[in-house]
Point group: C2
Chain length 320, copies 2
Protein backbone atom coordinates (compact mmCIF):
# COMPACT_ATOMS: atom_id res chain seq x y z
CA UNK A 1 0.00 0.00 0.00
CA UNK A 2 1.13 3.53 -0.68
CA UNK A 3 1.86 5.80 2.27
CA UNK A 4 -0.76 8.37 1.30
CA UNK A 5 -3.43 5.73 0.94
CA UNK A 6 -2.52 4.31 4.36
CA UNK A 7 -2.63 7.75 5.99
CA UNK A 8 -5.95 8.57 4.33
CA UNK A 9 -7.52 5.28 5.41
CA UNK A 10 -6.21 5.65 8.96
CA UNK A 11 -7.47 9.22 9.14
CA UNK A 12 -10.89 7.96 8.10
CA UNK A 13 -11.03 5.14 10.64
CA UNK A 14 -9.68 7.35 13.45
CA UNK A 15 -12.27 10.01 12.57
CA UNK A 16 -14.98 7.35 12.66
CA UNK A 17 -13.86 6.06 16.06
CA UNK A 18 -13.60 9.59 17.47
CA UNK A 19 -17.08 10.36 16.21
CA UNK A 20 -18.41 7.22 17.80
CA UNK A 21 -16.99 8.14 21.21
CA UNK A 22 -17.11 11.93 21.15
CA UNK A 23 -19.48 12.87 18.32
CA UNK A 24 -22.57 13.22 20.50
CA UNK A 25 -20.84 14.68 23.54
CA UNK A 26 -23.20 15.26 26.43
CA UNK A 27 -22.77 18.35 28.59
CA UNK A 28 -20.66 21.45 28.07
CA UNK A 29 -17.42 19.92 29.38
CA UNK A 30 -17.45 17.01 26.92
CA UNK A 31 -18.60 19.29 24.09
CA UNK A 32 -15.57 21.48 24.84
CA UNK A 33 -13.34 18.41 24.91
CA UNK A 34 -14.74 17.08 21.62
CA UNK A 35 -14.51 20.44 19.84
CA UNK A 36 -10.92 20.27 18.52
CA UNK A 37 -10.93 16.47 18.50
CA UNK A 38 -13.72 16.36 15.93
CA UNK A 39 -12.42 19.35 13.94
CA UNK A 40 -10.13 17.19 11.83
CA UNK A 41 -6.37 16.78 11.95
CA UNK A 42 -4.08 14.43 10.11
CA UNK A 43 -4.12 11.74 12.85
CA UNK A 44 -0.42 11.12 12.31
CA UNK A 45 0.31 9.85 15.82
CA UNK A 46 -2.39 7.15 15.66
CA UNK A 47 -1.04 6.16 12.23
CA UNK A 48 2.52 5.86 13.60
CA UNK A 49 1.27 3.72 16.50
CA UNK A 50 -0.69 1.36 14.24
CA UNK A 51 2.10 1.08 11.66
CA UNK A 52 4.69 0.36 14.35
CA UNK A 53 2.52 -2.41 15.76
CA UNK A 54 1.97 -3.85 12.29
CA UNK A 55 5.67 -3.68 11.44
CA UNK A 56 6.48 -5.70 14.58
CA UNK A 57 3.60 -8.12 14.39
CA UNK A 58 3.33 -8.40 10.59
CA UNK A 59 -0.45 -8.23 10.62
CA UNK A 60 -3.30 -5.78 11.13
CA UNK A 61 -3.34 -3.70 14.30
CA UNK A 62 -7.01 -2.78 14.02
CA UNK A 63 -7.46 -4.19 17.54
CA UNK A 64 -5.16 -1.43 18.84
CA UNK A 65 -7.43 1.40 17.68
CA UNK A 66 -8.22 2.32 21.32
CA UNK A 67 -4.50 2.82 21.96
CA UNK A 68 -4.15 4.84 18.76
CA UNK A 69 -7.00 7.07 19.97
CA UNK A 70 -5.18 7.51 23.30
CA UNK A 71 -2.36 9.22 21.42
CA UNK A 72 -4.75 11.54 19.57
CA UNK A 73 -6.51 12.37 22.85
CA UNK A 74 -3.18 13.19 24.46
CA UNK A 75 -2.15 15.35 21.51
CA UNK A 76 -5.48 17.22 21.61
CA UNK A 77 -5.27 17.80 25.37
CA UNK A 78 -1.85 19.44 24.87
CA UNK A 79 -3.24 21.63 22.07
CA UNK A 80 -6.13 22.86 24.26
CA UNK A 81 -3.79 23.79 27.11
CA UNK A 82 -1.15 25.28 24.77
CA UNK A 83 -3.76 27.50 23.13
CA UNK A 84 -4.66 28.90 26.56
CA UNK A 85 -1.00 29.59 27.38
CA UNK A 86 -0.24 31.11 23.99
CA UNK A 87 -3.51 33.05 23.85
CA UNK A 88 -4.26 31.61 20.40
CA UNK A 89 -7.77 32.17 19.09
CA UNK A 90 -7.99 29.75 16.12
CA UNK A 91 -6.79 26.23 15.27
CA UNK A 92 -7.79 23.67 12.65
CA UNK A 93 -10.01 26.37 11.15
CA UNK A 94 -12.19 26.70 14.27
CA UNK A 95 -12.03 28.97 17.33
CA UNK A 96 -9.89 27.54 20.17
CA UNK A 97 -11.66 25.91 23.12
CA UNK A 98 -11.02 28.70 25.63
CA UNK A 99 -12.24 31.28 23.09
CA UNK A 100 -15.66 29.60 23.08
CA UNK A 101 -16.01 28.11 26.58
CA UNK A 102 -13.66 30.31 28.63
CA UNK A 103 -10.42 29.34 30.36
CA UNK A 104 -11.76 27.32 33.32
CA UNK A 105 -13.77 24.95 31.12
CA UNK A 106 -10.90 24.77 28.62
CA UNK A 107 -8.44 23.74 31.35
CA UNK A 108 -10.93 21.07 32.48
CA UNK A 109 -11.66 19.94 28.90
CA UNK A 110 -7.94 19.29 28.46
CA UNK A 111 -7.81 17.50 31.81
CA UNK A 112 -10.74 15.27 30.84
CA UNK A 113 -9.13 14.22 27.54
CA UNK A 114 -5.92 13.53 29.49
CA UNK A 115 -7.85 11.09 31.72
CA UNK A 116 -9.61 9.53 28.74
CA UNK A 117 -6.25 8.91 27.05
CA UNK A 118 -5.15 6.63 29.91
CA UNK A 119 -8.57 5.00 30.05
CA UNK A 120 -8.51 4.24 26.30
CA UNK A 121 -4.94 2.94 26.45
CA UNK A 122 -6.00 0.47 29.14
CA UNK A 123 -8.89 -0.85 27.04
CA UNK A 124 -6.72 -1.85 24.06
CA UNK A 125 -6.57 -5.58 23.27
CA UNK A 126 -3.14 -6.46 24.63
CA UNK A 127 -1.75 -8.29 27.61
CA UNK A 128 -1.62 -6.53 30.96
CA UNK A 129 2.17 -6.44 31.20
CA UNK A 130 2.33 -4.61 27.88
CA UNK A 131 -0.40 -2.21 28.94
CA UNK A 132 1.38 -1.26 32.18
CA UNK A 133 4.54 -0.60 30.15
CA UNK A 134 2.51 1.46 27.67
CA UNK A 135 0.92 3.54 30.45
CA UNK A 136 4.37 4.31 31.88
CA UNK A 137 5.56 5.28 28.41
CA UNK A 138 2.59 7.59 27.80
CA UNK A 139 2.94 9.18 31.26
CA UNK A 140 6.63 9.83 30.62
CA UNK A 141 5.80 11.38 27.25
CA UNK A 142 3.19 13.67 28.85
CA UNK A 143 5.73 14.90 31.39
CA UNK A 144 8.22 15.48 28.55
CA UNK A 145 5.68 17.44 26.50
CA UNK A 146 4.99 19.68 29.52
CA UNK A 147 8.72 20.23 30.04
CA UNK A 148 9.16 21.05 26.34
CA UNK A 149 6.26 23.49 26.32
CA UNK A 150 7.61 25.19 29.45
CA UNK A 151 11.05 25.49 27.83
CA UNK A 152 9.45 26.92 24.69
CA UNK A 153 7.64 29.58 26.73
CA UNK A 154 10.75 30.46 28.75
CA UNK A 155 12.85 30.69 25.55
CA UNK A 156 10.76 33.64 24.35
CA UNK A 157 12.26 35.82 27.07
CA UNK A 158 15.83 34.70 26.34
CA UNK A 159 18.35 35.54 23.61
CA UNK A 160 21.02 32.96 24.45
CA UNK A 161 19.34 29.81 23.16
CA UNK A 162 21.79 27.40 21.52
CA UNK A 163 21.06 24.68 18.96
CA UNK A 164 21.41 22.16 21.78
CA UNK A 165 18.78 23.99 23.86
CA UNK A 166 16.51 24.06 20.83
CA UNK A 167 17.02 20.35 20.19
CA UNK A 168 16.20 19.44 23.80
CA UNK A 169 13.06 21.57 23.72
CA UNK A 170 11.77 20.17 20.44
CA UNK A 171 12.62 16.58 21.37
CA UNK A 172 10.41 16.99 24.41
CA UNK A 173 7.67 19.16 22.99
CA UNK A 174 7.14 17.30 19.69
CA UNK A 175 9.48 14.31 19.56
CA UNK A 176 8.40 12.65 22.82
CA UNK A 177 4.81 12.00 21.76
CA UNK A 178 5.81 10.58 18.36
CA UNK A 179 8.40 8.46 20.19
CA UNK A 180 5.71 7.19 22.56
CA UNK A 181 3.32 6.52 19.66
CA UNK A 182 5.86 4.33 17.86
CA UNK A 183 7.13 2.60 21.00
CA UNK A 184 3.65 1.92 22.38
CA UNK A 185 2.70 0.35 19.03
CA UNK A 186 5.71 -1.94 19.41
CA UNK A 187 4.99 -2.69 23.06
CA UNK A 188 1.33 -3.61 22.56
CA UNK A 189 2.17 -5.75 19.53
CA UNK A 190 4.49 -7.82 21.73
CA UNK A 191 7.77 -6.47 20.36
CA UNK A 192 11.09 -7.13 22.09
CA UNK A 193 13.15 -4.44 23.80
CA UNK A 194 15.44 -3.92 20.79
CA UNK A 195 12.44 -3.30 18.54
CA UNK A 196 10.76 -1.01 21.10
CA UNK A 197 13.91 1.10 21.53
CA UNK A 198 14.33 1.32 17.76
CA UNK A 199 10.73 2.48 17.32
CA UNK A 200 11.17 5.01 20.11
CA UNK A 201 14.23 6.46 18.34
CA UNK A 202 12.35 6.46 15.05
CA UNK A 203 9.49 8.44 16.58
CA UNK A 204 11.73 10.82 18.50
CA UNK A 205 13.86 11.75 15.51
CA UNK A 206 11.08 11.93 12.94
CA UNK A 207 9.11 14.04 15.42
CA UNK A 208 12.00 16.51 15.61
CA UNK A 209 12.24 16.51 11.80
CA UNK A 210 8.50 17.16 11.65
CA UNK A 211 8.81 20.20 13.93
CA UNK A 212 11.78 21.70 12.09
CA UNK A 213 9.84 21.32 8.84
CA UNK A 214 6.89 23.00 10.55
CA UNK A 215 9.12 25.95 11.37
CA UNK A 216 10.24 26.16 7.73
CA UNK A 217 6.64 25.97 6.50
CA UNK A 218 5.70 28.83 8.82
CA UNK A 219 8.33 30.98 7.14
CA UNK A 220 8.25 29.88 3.52
CA UNK A 221 4.73 28.62 2.76
CA UNK A 222 1.92 30.93 1.72
CA UNK A 223 -0.89 31.60 4.17
CA UNK A 224 -3.24 29.48 2.02
CA UNK A 225 -0.86 26.50 2.13
CA UNK A 226 -0.06 26.58 5.84
CA UNK A 227 -3.40 27.83 7.16
CA UNK A 228 -1.50 30.28 9.36
CA UNK A 229 -0.26 33.83 8.91
CA UNK A 230 3.13 33.89 7.18
CA UNK A 231 6.25 34.13 9.31
CA UNK A 232 4.23 34.20 12.51
CA UNK A 233 7.11 32.60 14.45
CA UNK A 234 9.53 35.41 13.58
CA UNK A 235 6.90 38.08 14.14
CA UNK A 236 6.20 36.61 17.60
CA UNK A 237 9.91 36.22 18.42
CA UNK A 238 9.75 32.41 18.74
CA UNK A 239 13.09 30.64 19.22
CA UNK A 240 12.92 28.28 16.26
CA UNK A 241 16.02 26.71 14.74
CA UNK A 242 15.87 29.45 12.09
CA UNK A 243 16.06 32.16 14.76
CA UNK A 244 18.84 30.36 16.65
CA UNK A 245 20.95 29.93 13.52
CA UNK A 246 20.33 33.54 12.45
CA UNK A 247 21.64 34.80 15.79
CA UNK A 248 24.68 32.51 15.57
CA UNK A 249 25.47 34.18 12.25
CA UNK A 250 25.05 37.65 13.70
CA UNK A 251 21.70 38.25 11.98
CA UNK A 252 19.40 40.17 14.30
CA UNK A 253 15.76 39.16 13.78
CA UNK A 254 14.34 41.36 16.53
CA UNK A 255 13.49 44.24 14.11
CA UNK A 256 11.14 41.75 12.39
CA UNK A 257 9.18 41.16 15.58
CA UNK A 258 6.22 43.10 14.17
CA UNK A 259 3.62 43.02 11.39
CA UNK A 260 5.25 42.68 7.97
CA UNK A 261 4.04 43.00 4.39
CA UNK A 262 4.48 40.07 1.99
CA UNK A 263 7.29 41.97 0.28
CA UNK A 264 9.11 42.46 3.57
CA UNK A 265 8.74 38.75 4.37
CA UNK A 266 10.10 37.88 0.91
CA UNK A 267 13.21 40.00 1.44
CA UNK A 268 13.68 38.52 4.91
CA UNK A 269 13.56 35.03 3.36
CA UNK A 270 16.10 36.11 0.73
CA UNK A 271 18.34 37.44 3.50
CA UNK A 272 18.13 34.15 5.47
CA UNK A 273 18.66 32.19 2.26
CA UNK A 274 21.77 34.19 1.33
CA UNK A 275 23.23 33.56 4.77
CA UNK A 276 22.78 29.82 4.14
CA UNK A 277 20.38 29.50 7.06
CA UNK A 278 17.47 27.92 5.21
CA UNK A 279 19.75 25.29 3.68
CA UNK A 280 21.26 24.51 7.07
CA UNK A 281 17.87 24.16 8.72
CA UNK A 282 16.73 21.89 5.89
CA UNK A 283 19.88 19.82 6.28
CA UNK A 284 19.19 19.53 10.03
CA UNK A 285 15.70 18.17 9.31
CA UNK A 286 17.06 15.74 6.70
CA UNK A 287 19.67 14.47 9.15
CA UNK A 288 16.99 13.82 11.77
CA UNK A 289 14.82 11.97 9.26
CA UNK A 290 17.80 9.84 8.22
CA UNK A 291 18.56 9.02 11.87
CA UNK A 292 14.92 8.03 12.31
CA UNK A 293 15.02 5.72 9.29
CA UNK A 294 18.33 4.19 10.32
CA UNK A 295 16.84 3.20 13.67
CA UNK A 296 14.34 0.97 11.86
CA UNK A 297 17.07 -1.21 10.35
CA UNK A 298 16.59 -3.69 13.22
CA UNK A 299 13.05 -4.43 11.98
CA UNK A 300 12.70 -7.02 9.24
CA UNK A 301 11.34 -5.68 5.96
CA UNK A 302 7.62 -5.31 5.51
CA UNK A 303 5.10 -3.11 3.75
CA UNK A 304 4.42 -1.32 7.04
CA UNK A 305 8.09 -0.69 7.75
CA UNK A 306 8.36 0.85 4.29
CA UNK A 307 5.43 3.16 5.04
CA UNK A 308 7.14 4.25 8.28
CA UNK A 309 10.28 5.05 6.27
CA UNK A 310 8.16 6.99 3.79
CA UNK A 311 6.54 8.90 6.66
CA UNK A 312 9.94 10.12 7.86
CA UNK A 313 10.58 11.45 4.34
CA UNK A 314 7.07 12.88 4.14
CA UNK A 315 7.60 14.78 7.41
CA UNK A 316 10.44 16.79 5.80
CA UNK A 317 9.00 17.14 2.29
CA UNK A 318 5.43 18.19 3.07
CA UNK A 319 4.58 21.79 2.28
CA UNK A 320 1.73 22.21 4.75
Amino acid sequence: MEMMQYLDETEESVDKAINRYFGCAFGELYKAGAHLLTAGGKRLRPAVLLLSAEAVRKGSAADLMQAALALELTHTFTLIHDDIMDGDTARRGVPTVHTIWGEPTAILAGDVLYAKAFEFLCTAYADDRAKVYAVKMLAKACADVCEGQNMDISFEKRTDITELDYLEMVQKKTGALYAAAAAIGGILAGGNQVQITALYQFGLNSGVAFQVQDDLIDLVASAEQSGKDRASDIREGKQTLIAVKAREKGLDLSPYRRDMTDTEIDSLIALLDDAGIIDEVRAFAVERAETAKLALSVLSDSEEKQILLDIADFFISRGF
Copy 2:
Protein backbone atom coordinates in the same frame (compact mmCIF):
# COMPACT_ATOMS: atom_id res chain seq x y z
CA MET B 1 -3.52 1.41 66.71
CA GLU B 2 -5.53 4.56 67.24
CA MET B 3 -6.80 6.41 64.15
CA MET B 4 -4.95 9.61 64.98
CA GLN B 5 -1.69 7.76 65.47
CA TYR B 6 -2.16 5.97 62.14
CA LEU B 7 -2.93 9.23 60.33
CA ASP B 8 0.04 10.98 61.91
CA GLU B 9 2.43 8.15 61.01
CA THR B 10 1.11 7.97 57.44
CA GLU B 11 1.38 11.73 57.07
CA GLU B 12 5.00 11.48 58.15
CA SER B 13 5.90 8.64 55.77
CA VAL B 14 4.05 10.29 52.85
CA ASP B 15 5.85 13.56 53.57
CA LYS B 16 9.15 11.69 53.60
CA ALA B 17 8.44 9.97 50.29
CA ILE B 18 7.29 13.23 48.69
CA ASN B 19 10.45 14.92 49.87
CA ARG B 20 12.56 12.15 48.43
CA TYR B 21 10.98 12.49 44.99
CA PHE B 22 10.11 16.19 44.84
CA GLY B 23 12.14 17.86 47.60
CA CYS B 24 15.05 18.87 45.38
CA ALA B 25 13.02 19.68 42.29
CA PHE B 26 15.19 20.71 39.36
CA GLY B 27 13.98 23.44 37.03
CA GLU B 28 11.13 25.91 37.41
CA LEU B 29 8.42 23.51 36.21
CA TYR B 30 9.17 20.85 38.82
CA LYS B 31 9.67 23.50 41.50
CA ALA B 32 6.19 24.79 40.66
CA GLY B 33 4.83 21.23 40.76
CA ALA B 34 6.50 20.51 44.11
CA HIS B 35 5.40 23.79 45.72
CA LEU B 36 1.96 22.77 47.06
CA LEU B 37 2.94 19.11 47.29
CA THR B 38 5.66 19.86 49.84
CA ALA B 39 3.61 22.52 51.67
CA GLY B 40 1.92 19.96 53.91
CA GLY B 41 -1.59 18.59 53.83
CA LYS B 42 -3.23 15.83 55.84
CA ARG B 43 -2.45 13.10 53.25
CA LEU B 44 -5.88 11.57 53.85
CA ARG B 45 -6.22 9.96 50.41
CA PRO B 46 -2.92 8.06 50.71
CA ALA B 47 -4.00 6.95 54.19
CA VAL B 48 -7.35 5.68 52.87
CA LEU B 49 -5.56 3.77 50.08
CA LEU B 50 -3.07 2.12 52.45
CA LEU B 51 -5.71 1.27 55.07
CA SER B 52 -8.00 -0.23 52.42
CA ALA B 53 -5.18 -2.42 51.15
CA GLU B 54 -4.30 -3.49 54.69
CA ALA B 55 -7.93 -4.24 55.57
CA VAL B 56 -8.16 -6.55 52.53
CA ARG B 57 -4.75 -8.15 52.85
CA LYS B 58 -4.48 -8.14 56.66
CA GLY B 59 -0.88 -6.97 56.56
CA SER B 60 1.25 -3.93 55.94
CA ALA B 61 0.80 -2.09 52.65
CA ALA B 62 4.10 -0.23 52.86
CA ASP B 63 4.93 -1.67 49.42
CA LEU B 64 2.02 0.33 47.98
CA MET B 65 3.45 3.73 48.98
CA GLN B 66 4.01 4.60 45.28
CA ALA B 67 0.30 4.08 44.64
CA ALA B 68 -0.59 6.12 47.73
CA LEU B 69 1.59 8.94 46.38
CA ALA B 70 -0.24 8.72 43.03
CA LEU B 71 -3.43 9.74 44.84
CA GLU B 72 -1.73 12.69 46.55
CA LEU B 73 -0.21 13.78 43.21
CA THR B 74 -3.63 13.62 41.58
CA HIS B 75 -5.21 15.59 44.42
CA THR B 76 -2.48 18.25 44.19
CA PHE B 77 -2.81 18.55 40.40
CA THR B 78 -6.53 19.27 40.81
CA LEU B 79 -5.77 21.89 43.51
CA ILE B 80 -3.29 23.71 41.23
CA HIS B 81 -5.76 23.84 38.34
CA ASP B 82 -8.73 24.72 40.62
CA ASP B 83 -6.79 27.64 42.11
CA ILE B 84 -6.26 29.04 38.60
CA MET B 85 -9.96 28.70 37.75
CA ASP B 86 -11.12 30.16 41.06
CA GLY B 87 -8.47 32.88 41.07
CA ASP B 88 -7.40 31.89 44.60
CA THR B 89 -4.17 33.40 45.86
CA ALA B 90 -3.35 31.29 48.95
CA ARG B 91 -3.60 27.63 49.99
CA ARG B 92 -1.99 25.56 52.76
CA GLY B 93 -0.55 28.81 54.07
CA VAL B 94 1.49 29.54 50.94
CA PRO B 95 0.75 31.53 47.76
CA THR B 96 -0.91 29.43 45.03
CA VAL B 97 1.24 28.15 42.16
CA HIS B 98 -0.07 30.53 39.51
CA THR B 99 0.42 33.48 41.88
CA ILE B 100 4.16 32.75 41.96
CA TRP B 101 4.91 31.22 38.54
CA GLY B 102 2.09 32.59 36.38
CA GLU B 103 -0.77 30.73 34.74
CA PRO B 104 1.07 28.97 31.89
CA THR B 105 3.61 27.33 34.21
CA ALA B 106 0.87 26.55 36.75
CA ILE B 107 -1.22 24.76 34.09
CA LEU B 108 1.88 22.78 33.09
CA ALA B 109 2.85 22.07 36.71
CA GLY B 110 -0.58 20.51 37.22
CA ASP B 111 -0.22 18.56 33.98
CA VAL B 112 3.19 17.21 35.04
CA LEU B 113 1.87 15.98 38.41
CA TYR B 114 -1.03 14.37 36.51
CA ALA B 115 1.47 12.39 34.41
CA LYS B 116 3.57 11.50 37.46
CA ALA B 117 0.46 10.14 39.20
CA PHE B 118 0.02 7.51 36.49
CA GLU B 119 3.74 6.79 36.42
CA PHE B 120 3.83 6.26 40.20
CA LEU B 121 0.73 4.07 40.14
CA CYS B 122 2.41 1.80 37.58
CA THR B 123 5.51 1.38 39.73
CA ALA B 124 3.67 0.04 42.79
CA TYR B 125 4.47 -3.55 43.78
CA ALA B 126 1.40 -5.37 42.49
CA ASP B 127 0.55 -7.66 39.62
CA ASP B 128 0.00 -6.17 36.18
CA ARG B 129 -3.67 -7.08 35.95
CA ALA B 130 -4.33 -5.17 39.17
CA LYS B 131 -2.30 -2.21 37.96
CA VAL B 132 -4.24 -1.93 34.70
CA TYR B 133 -7.48 -2.00 36.70
CA ALA B 134 -6.06 0.65 39.06
CA VAL B 135 -5.05 2.92 36.16
CA LYS B 136 -8.58 2.69 34.71
CA MET B 137 -10.00 3.51 38.14
CA LEU B 138 -7.73 6.54 38.60
CA ALA B 139 -8.45 7.78 35.06
CA LYS B 140 -12.19 7.50 35.68
CA ALA B 141 -11.82 9.39 38.97
CA CYS B 142 -9.87 12.18 37.24
CA ALA B 143 -12.63 12.58 34.63
CA ASP B 144 -15.21 12.64 37.46
CA VAL B 145 -13.27 15.32 39.37
CA CYS B 146 -13.17 17.49 36.23
CA GLU B 147 -16.92 17.02 35.70
CA GLY B 148 -17.57 17.89 39.34
CA GLN B 149 -15.41 21.00 39.23
CA ASN B 150 -17.11 22.12 36.00
CA MET B 151 -20.53 21.59 37.62
CA ASP B 152 -19.40 23.57 40.68
CA ILE B 153 -18.33 26.50 38.49
CA SER B 154 -21.54 26.44 36.43
CA PHE B 155 -23.66 26.29 39.63
CA GLU B 156 -22.43 29.74 40.65
CA LYS B 157 -24.42 31.29 37.82
CA ARG B 158 -27.59 29.33 38.64
CA THR B 159 -30.26 29.64 41.32
CA ASP B 160 -32.16 26.41 40.64
CA ILE B 161 -29.72 23.87 42.09
CA THR B 162 -31.49 21.00 43.89
CA GLU B 163 -30.09 18.72 46.57
CA LEU B 164 -29.76 16.05 43.90
CA ASP B 165 -27.66 18.38 41.70
CA TYR B 166 -25.52 19.20 44.72
CA LEU B 167 -25.06 15.52 45.57
CA GLU B 168 -24.00 14.66 42.01
CA MET B 169 -21.52 17.53 41.96
CA VAL B 170 -19.92 16.70 45.29
CA GLN B 171 -19.82 12.96 44.58
CA LYS B 172 -17.75 13.77 41.51
CA LYS B 173 -15.68 16.65 42.81
CA THR B 174 -14.71 15.17 46.18
CA GLY B 175 -16.20 11.67 46.48
CA ALA B 176 -14.69 10.18 43.32
CA LEU B 177 -11.07 10.54 44.39
CA TYR B 178 -11.69 9.10 47.88
CA ALA B 179 -13.63 6.30 46.18
CA ALA B 180 -10.69 5.63 43.87
CA ALA B 181 -8.23 5.77 46.78
CA ALA B 182 -10.13 3.11 48.71
CA ALA B 183 -10.89 0.93 45.67
CA ILE B 184 -7.32 1.09 44.32
CA GLY B 185 -6.05 0.01 47.73
CA GLY B 186 -8.36 -3.00 47.50
CA ILE B 187 -7.43 -3.74 43.89
CA LEU B 188 -3.66 -3.65 44.42
CA ALA B 189 -3.96 -5.76 47.57
CA GLY B 190 -5.65 -8.47 45.50
CA GLY B 191 -9.17 -7.96 46.82
CA ASN B 192 -12.19 -9.55 45.15
CA GLN B 193 -14.87 -7.56 43.31
CA VAL B 194 -17.23 -7.50 46.30
CA GLN B 195 -14.51 -6.00 48.49
CA ILE B 196 -13.47 -3.50 45.81
CA THR B 197 -17.05 -2.30 45.28
CA ALA B 198 -17.54 -1.99 49.04
CA LEU B 199 -14.36 0.06 49.39
CA TYR B 200 -15.42 2.26 46.46
CA GLN B 201 -18.76 2.96 48.16
CA PHE B 202 -16.98 3.61 51.45
CA GLY B 203 -14.71 6.19 49.79
CA LEU B 204 -17.49 7.79 47.75
CA ASN B 205 -19.81 8.31 50.71
CA SER B 206 -17.19 9.32 53.23
CA GLY B 207 -15.81 11.77 50.63
CA VAL B 208 -19.24 13.37 50.33
CA ALA B 209 -19.51 13.52 54.13
CA PHE B 210 -16.06 15.12 54.23
CA GLN B 211 -17.13 17.85 51.80
CA VAL B 212 -20.42 18.62 53.57
CA GLN B 213 -18.48 18.93 56.83
CA ASP B 214 -16.05 21.24 55.00
CA ASP B 215 -18.99 23.46 54.04
CA LEU B 216 -20.15 23.55 57.68
CA ILE B 217 -16.64 24.38 58.89
CA ASP B 218 -16.45 27.26 56.42
CA LEU B 219 -19.58 28.74 58.02
CA VAL B 220 -19.26 27.87 61.68
CA ALA B 221 -15.54 27.62 62.49
CA SER B 222 -13.44 30.62 63.39
CA ALA B 223 -10.88 31.87 60.90
CA GLU B 224 -8.09 30.55 63.16
CA GLN B 225 -9.61 27.05 63.21
CA SER B 226 -10.33 26.73 59.49
CA GLY B 227 -7.42 28.74 58.10
CA LYS B 228 -9.87 30.51 55.78
CA ASP B 229 -12.00 33.63 56.05
CA ARG B 230 -15.30 32.90 57.79
CA ALA B 231 -18.38 32.20 55.66
CA SER B 232 -16.39 32.62 52.45
CA ASP B 233 -18.76 30.23 50.61
CA ILE B 234 -21.82 32.35 51.33
CA ARG B 235 -19.96 35.57 50.63
CA GLU B 236 -18.90 34.15 47.23
CA GLY B 237 -22.37 32.77 46.46
CA LYS B 238 -21.21 29.13 46.34
CA GLN B 239 -23.95 26.52 45.96
CA THR B 240 -23.20 24.46 49.06
CA LEU B 241 -25.80 22.21 50.68
CA ILE B 242 -26.40 25.03 53.17
CA ALA B 243 -27.26 27.46 50.35
CA VAL B 244 -29.45 24.89 48.56
CA LYS B 245 -31.41 24.09 51.72
CA ALA B 246 -31.78 27.78 52.59
CA ARG B 247 -33.32 28.45 49.19
CA GLU B 248 -35.66 25.48 49.56
CA LYS B 249 -36.92 27.05 52.79
CA GLY B 250 -37.39 30.44 51.13
CA LEU B 251 -34.36 31.98 52.82
CA ASP B 252 -32.61 34.34 50.40
CA LEU B 253 -28.82 34.33 50.97
CA SER B 254 -27.99 36.68 48.10
CA PRO B 255 -27.93 39.80 50.34
CA TYR B 256 -25.05 38.10 52.19
CA ARG B 257 -22.94 37.86 49.05
CA ARG B 258 -20.63 40.59 50.35
CA ASP B 259 -18.13 41.34 53.11
CA MET B 260 -19.64 40.77 56.55
CA THR B 261 -18.61 41.58 60.10
CA ASP B 262 -18.28 38.76 62.64
CA THR B 263 -21.51 39.96 64.27
CA GLU B 264 -23.36 39.78 60.96
CA ILE B 265 -22.03 36.26 60.36
CA ASP B 266 -23.15 35.26 63.86
CA SER B 267 -26.70 36.46 63.23
CA LEU B 268 -26.74 34.72 59.85
CA ILE B 269 -25.72 31.47 61.57
CA ALA B 270 -28.49 31.99 64.15
CA LEU B 271 -30.97 32.53 61.31
CA LEU B 272 -29.89 29.32 59.54
CA ASP B 273 -29.92 27.47 62.85
CA ASP B 274 -33.48 28.61 63.69
CA ALA B 275 -34.67 27.45 60.28
CA GLY B 276 -33.25 24.00 61.13
CA ILE B 277 -30.81 24.16 58.20
CA ILE B 278 -27.63 23.50 60.14
CA ASP B 279 -29.16 20.45 61.81
CA GLU B 280 -30.37 19.12 58.46
CA VAL B 281 -26.98 19.58 56.83
CA ARG B 282 -25.32 17.84 59.79
CA ALA B 283 -27.83 15.00 59.50
CA PHE B 284 -27.04 14.70 55.79
CA ALA B 285 -23.32 14.34 56.56
CA VAL B 286 -24.03 11.78 59.31
CA GLU B 287 -26.19 9.75 56.94
CA ARG B 288 -23.40 9.67 54.33
CA ALA B 289 -20.85 8.60 56.93
CA GLU B 290 -23.21 5.82 58.11
CA THR B 291 -23.69 4.64 54.50
CA ALA B 292 -19.90 4.61 54.10
CA LYS B 293 -19.45 2.52 57.25
CA LEU B 294 -22.24 0.12 56.30
CA ALA B 295 -20.49 -0.62 53.00
CA LEU B 296 -17.51 -2.02 54.92
CA SER B 297 -19.62 -4.75 56.55
CA VAL B 298 -18.47 -7.18 53.82
CA LEU B 299 -14.88 -6.91 55.09
CA SER B 300 -13.90 -9.15 57.97
CA ASP B 301 -12.96 -7.32 61.17
CA SER B 302 -9.45 -6.00 61.57
CA GLU B 303 -7.62 -3.12 63.19
CA GLU B 304 -7.38 -1.39 59.82
CA LYS B 305 -11.09 -1.78 59.08
CA GLN B 306 -11.77 -0.17 62.47
CA ILE B 307 -9.53 2.78 61.57
CA LEU B 308 -11.44 3.20 58.29
CA LEU B 309 -14.71 3.27 60.27
CA ASP B 310 -13.18 5.82 62.63
CA ILE B 311 -12.08 7.93 59.65
CA ALA B 312 -15.67 8.17 58.40
CA ASP B 313 -16.67 9.45 61.84
CA PHE B 314 -13.66 11.76 61.96
CA PHE B 315 -14.64 13.29 58.60
CA ILE B 316 -17.91 14.57 60.12
CA SER B 317 -16.66 15.45 63.59
CA ARG B 318 -13.49 17.37 62.76
CA GLY B 319 -13.64 21.10 63.35
CA PHE B 320 -10.97 22.11 60.82
